[in-house]
Symmetry: C2
Subunit: 381 residues, 2 copies
């Protein structure tokens, strides 16, 4: 009987409606994000702008035929979407020991605050989210959540300060953008090493950068009239773009202990992409003056992690990717979630992997190492 206790490195919380009202200092309260209920559903209001909640952010209690992209209503939402204690029963049912949760409303890397006019307010909102995720969300169920923070991406000094502050408070990961250039910032290729102090601080604090598909707030659109089914498929290529960017950027050469996690991109394409990257480096590395000293795939093996929810093909070739470089996700409570069948799906997907040690690494061992998570509750299970 295999032990299928799982650490899911990619779940989502829907922010409690009063999150910022409770977590920003009083003088910012009026200007901090507030949830407002409109005719079509709930929206977040911040600096006079409305951002609708998103239907596919919660699948709980819904039939597939009821999914939609329109706004949700918190009043109709199951509490485990936004309540860390209510969520534990579903985690127990699904075999999830611990969960890394991405933010929802601010975007998967905090885009909303990067667009704020009042950057002092925005920084306060980032700190508020981070205090919330560490103290309230993770604090509500010690040993069951692994806190991931967002950054004030518009200011490198403030990023470094926040990384150090959050790390000291117990943060275990950073939600970084798969492509900062799409958010209006310099890319990771920037010739002046724009992000280097952020990467150095993350490396120093041992916080992996988790880059969720969509965290560039850009998705490939094949055509304006392409059906959603195409969009839901090709959005996963964002992880391919991000991996190619990182492997060829030279960042992982300069920061050898920095870890990057590709969240929700699937893994079945990874062996193919690594082979392609190595081939491109061998063929085009010289004339393009690539800075890399080793083949791109070497940086993957040392620094990067692929993650899968339900990727039978990917799981079947996991040894080609590297059993030390793969982690699992449940994507709860999004419509992509494997809940309540996460354990069953992953067990099936890894059925042909005979190496018990490898299975444990994929299920939780790699996550324990990457997120420096000591599974205190594990003995009780």
């Amino acid at each position: 009987m295999r032990d299928f206790t799982i650490i899911s490195v990619d779940d989502h919380l829907l922010e409690p409606p009063d999150l910022w009202q409770r977590w920003v200092p009083a003088k910012y309260r009026q200007d901090a994000p507030q949830l407002v209920s409109l005719e079509d559903g709930d929206h977040w209001r911040f600096e006079g702008k409305l951002e609708p909640t998103v239907g596919v952010a919660s699948s709980l209690g819904k039939d597939k035929t009821e999914y939609n992209v329109g706004p949700l209503r918190y009043s109709e939402m199951l509490p485990q979407c936004f309540d860390p204690v209510a969520r534990l029963a579903d985690m127990d049912r699904d075999g999830i020991l611990a969960s890394v949760c991405f933010p929802q409303y601010p975007g998967f890397a905090g885009r909303v605050f990067t667009t704020a006019t009042d950057k002092d307010l925005a920084r306060v909102c980032v700190e508020a989210y981070n205090n919330f995720i560490i103290e309230e969300w993770t604090g509500a169920a010690p040993g069951r959540y692994i806190p991931m923070v967002i950054l004030p991406l518009w200011d490198i000094d403030e990023c470094v300060t926040e990384i150090e502050r959050a790390a000291a408070k117990g943060a275990r990961a950073i939600a970084f953008s798969e492509n900062p250039s799409k958010l209006g910032f310099p890319s990771i290729h920037s010739s002046d090493g724009h992000w280097d102090r952020v990467f150095a601080a993350a490396e120093q604090a041992e916080l992996p950068l988790c880059m969720h598909i969509g965290s560039s707030s850009t998705v490939p659109l094949t055509a304006d009239d392409a059906p959603y089914t195409v969009n839901f498929t090709v959005i996963l290529t964002n992880a391919q773009f991000a991996l190619a960017d990182w492997l060829f950027s030279g960042v992982l050469m300069r920061f050898p202990r920095l870890k990057i996690v590709l969240s929700e991109g699937g893994i079945g394409w990874i062996p193919w992409l690594l082979e392609r990257c190595d081939w491109v480096w061998e063929t085009h590395g010289a004339w393009t003056k690539s800075p890399l000293q080793e083949p791109p795939s070497e940086y993957f093996r040392r620094n990067a992690y692929g993650c899968f929810i339900d990727d039978k093909f990917g799981a079947s070739v996991v040894e080609r990717i590297g059993v030390d470089n793969v982690m699992v996700e449940s994507d709860y409570p999004h419509t992509d979630t494997s809940f309540p069948n996460t354990r069953v799906k992953i067990e099936k997907a890894l059925a042909e992997l005979d190496d018990e040690q490898a299975v444990t690494k994929i299920l939780r061992g790699n996550a324990e190492r990457v997120f420096r998570f000591a599974p205190s509750g594990l003995g009780q299970r």
Copy 2:
């Protein structure tokens, strides 16, 4: 000893400098594309616009360190780039029985002519290219080339006329765009079935639509300052976008005998993408009102073909893709080419495939079927 005679379904010709001058009627000659030699290299001139030739379009006689994207000079180019007879020696050396060649200067689906102001002239130029590829290029070495034509994409009536005309002359394939919407035309999803008559004519004439990466004249750009190595890697995702578009569009349901070929996209990602497509269809098909009657992967099995140059991982999972759905390429004479090691590379890549019949299908059997090519020269080899 395996028979490693290959049909390469994706090579490239560089148009002879006087192609259009010789193949358009006299009254169009002055306005048809001409090659002009400038200080930095050769450019094509058409309707007053200059389009530079592209360095990476020819690797012949160059060391990897000499590759570049700047303009070429025909006077310094080896004749096998633009001479179908001179090319035969290299094909013999590389085990290539027959070759499907894409156009170069007009773009892989004839983009240049779609942007012409004078559409009568543009149509004449398309016909001229098609007459050239069928009569001159293919005619120069019967049994060694499989002629692929381009279309006057801006006019559906003219497309249909040209398909019928070219088919009657012996065309065996159409170079179609992986994404017509990026060329300014309706997408294949267009609700009024914009392309349906083209698809019907291609189906009727039994001409597969070959969609080369880049044939939308769009490549994913992760960042303005991303190195070329990233671009050369992620351009292959265009094939993933195209496949998702086609599988979800419903076109392959409406045209069950239409064949699509994904040129130069590699194959290692296909099992992963098909699984993702099926999952998306099962999960999101209902509320998005997907027209598909079968899972997307079924349309792949029936209508689509992946192709690889040098994709060891992809070749190792070829049975997961379907041995009836894969063909091989040499990409001669581009810098991605496997020449002069095509046979060796493909033999190595397929070394673990024990099924001789499957190997033959991949090397040439599928191509013979898809392109209706009778290998008359095969017995002499």
